[in-house]
Amino acid sequence: MFFVLNLTHQVTLHPSYFGRSMHELVTGKLLKDVEGTCTGRYFIITIMDTVNISEGRVLPGSGLAEFNVSYRAVVWRPFKGETVDAIVTSVNQVGFFADAGPLPLFVSSHLIPPDIKFDPNATPPQFTNNEDSVIEIGTHVRVKLIGTRAEVGSMYAIASIKEDYLGCLQGS
């Protein structure tokens, strides 16, 4: 689910950048540092704007200036039970892997409807029910997350397509 959050971040700036356009530099550095990262609970998708940039404080010893920046960002936190769209990245006999944006997820064969079977002889290997559903690398699928786990800087999820309206997205 997507949220707009007020967040803060500390940006340090090298003394060689001290000057007139310091605030732009700080904002730029913020974007570079923060956008697209994962905190372990959510992904920071994009920064909408900076609310406030504190006065710079020169750090003793290094001479770098430190700014406290508060900003608004769109974040995405995957929840258990959430339905997301994903692109298949790898298929094997145990199940298939897909990426829902920044989130790698795995759909095991237990969570695939029984009529969709693994076909190792096809090139590339695929899950198919020999009708309209063909899941191979690059296929767009709609899945439901049934479990997530966070590690420092990354998240993983287990998903299912064993429900109505899940699975291959036609015409996409």
Binding site: K80, N92, F97, F106, P120, R149, E151, Y156, A157, I158
Partner: protein
Amino acid sequence: MGKQLDLGHHLRYPITVSKLLKAPGDSIKKQEPILQYKFTTVREVGDPFGEQWKEKQVTFADWDSPSDGTMRKWKIQEGMVIEKNMMFAEIEEDCPHSIQFAGLCGICGKDMTEMSWASAKNDTDRAKINMIHDQTALTVSQDEASKAEEELQRRLLRDRKLSLVVDLDQTIIHACIEPTIGEWQADPSAGNYEVLQQVKSFQLNDDGPRGLANGCNYYIKMRPGLKEFLNKVSEMYELHVYTMGTRAYALNIAKIVDPDKRLFGDRIISRDENGNMTAKSLARLFPVDTKMVVIIDDRADVWPKNRMNLIKVHPYDFFVGIGDINSTYLPKREELPKDVEIPKLKPSKPIEAAAVTSEGKTDGIGATRVSSKTPIAPTEGAKVSALEELVRMGGGDDQALRLEQAAEQENLLEKQIKERPLLHMQEQLDKEEDEADDEEAKEEVKNGETVTEHPHHKHNLLKDDDIELMYLEKHLTQIHKSFYEQYDGALVNAQGGRIAQLKPSHSRKVPIKEKAGDLSIVPDVAEVMPRIKTRTLEGCVIVMSGLVPLGVDIMRSEIALQAMSFGAVIHYKVSSKVTHLVASTSRTRTTKVKQAARREKIKIVSQQWLLNSMSKWKKEDEGPYLVHVSESDRKRAAGEEGSSPPSDMNETDDSSDDESASSGGEETDSIPSNSQDMSLELDDLAPSEDYDEGQSPVEQMNNFDWNLADAELEAFMDESDSEASDTASEISTNSGDRTPRSGEKRKYNDREESVDSDGDSDAESTLAKKQRVANKRSTGLKSLTSEQSLPTPGPTNDGEGGEDDGASKGIQEDDEDDGFDLERELMEQLENADSDGGG
């Protein structure tokens, strides 16, 4: 899917079950109490006045469920007293957690890394097997793995295929990053232009250790006939790629070899997913059953557990001297002395010839050696590899070692770019070519095939004359055929019984092949293949000479293991049973060659015979491989057969002489030590000594190869622990041996006897025997021999014993010949050494 619960060791037994909180059929949650029990403890209790006494206390406690599920059965009742840990209940789990992805259960989506007070053990341990080619985060349980594998086997049986695991580097391709190749490729006037036209290239931008090598071009040469080979083989086998290169590298190669992913599909595993930097294992891909898997690889030593499934391929070495660019992580390749025809090169330029030799030797060791164009003494190589072996064994999965290896690889790659070994080699080749225009300069044999003289005006460094894949295809077809022959045979038998009687016509194919029947009757490739292979050299009894470095046990050397896998029997020594002596072409005057020359039955062949036979799986005709044995060896041998030696220099007493006569040519097959070789090598240093033949000893000395002798002496010295005693007696041995004398045969017999007469041929008893013989001699050195032949600790035991023995003999001879001065001197030295060792 029932799971037994046990109480655990940590409870204070005996406990009394006071209440069962769940009835069979109830659902239970993790960490929910399912059982109440009580136990009594004795505790020290005190009051404010300082009195203390012991008191029995009854404590009640809950037992919490470690997992979700349904209660199925209690094995205990309320009121029961339990004395020790036991299985007390059976529950049906909701989820077996048999597929896990990055710590998540792939079936129920729960976090497996979570631990709580109730969990009995780590849930991640339930699925430990990593069997997916391109993922390391995904693990499965044993059950799941065997299920998947069974499915795979059934599918393969239905398609009548087998699995084939293919190595990349030097097996089906040869890779190189030398920039020279790009230049040659672009330049039609370059000598190697034509052959290089099929070389493909790509750039790699993975995060591997590169440094300077980053962004360089990889040049890939496919082994000749690869396309046809793979197409043909893929009809019988499902192909997997298993390489020690990085994943990006493997994918790029696969793109070149198999652009439409028809052959390998996604079945590619690289060192990134392997989980082990030094060895490959079939268990990574086929964790349960490797019955239907064949491997082709150019290195046997990286498959320590799967030798039986392996077809060793002759390494493809297109870019001469480059070797395997991904091999720095692997243990060093065991080198065979290359088949080089040194004398044919210009004798006026010995240094250059030596350089070529060293180039030939380097193919596994890589560019480090290529650049140093100095002849490398064989001992150095042996020492280096021994050291590296130790480092490797000590290292394990040491991080430091890993870094070191990464750095080494970087170095190697950089070196290739900077020093351009190929360019140098070609230049040198051109130079030689110019100098000797009409002389037919022979090139080293690279691919185990006899050299076909190229009609090129200019000699090119790079040649495309490899035909290994042709044989390989034949072998794979053969294995496939006999595997399914055996399977079909087993099917008929397994079918047997009633159905077969009722429907004899249908018994074979229809019912069982659809379901692929009972998998237990599937034959094992690891049995089928060796059966075919052993036919190759069946009946060959082989002795090797000059192929294995002195310090290495022949039986454990790569070439011997291989020869044995082809059905040959390896002996340490030349005897009447031996049928072939395989000699290194660079050293054709070893003792073993001379010994073998005496027996007409023994065919003395070059190692190419062995290699080609093993490559073709067919015993090659020995004719073209016969080694030229110098005339003097043969002649002397012939003469000695008839004449008996008149005198004995070694003062052996009569009893041992008789024994030697009675035990005749009967030699024990497997003497575990190489002490034999050591002592026999000593004789090598001695010139032949036949007065009877009318040949003057000086004449013999003339064609005696002093360089060889020196090299061997050096090797010998290096081998020994350089104790003072060793060195001293060493020298005396040589000086003693150089004095011409007769009775060599007696000496042999003498030594052989000492081994022959003890049947169990144990290293210790061999030594004991020698000691006994030595004791019979009347010298003042008895104490010395007994001292020295005590088993020295450590792996060098055998070798040491042999040396010491030879050395002490030398001393004895000297003391008889030269009088007492030397003896005294030696005694002093030895005593010093002994007291050193004692102190």
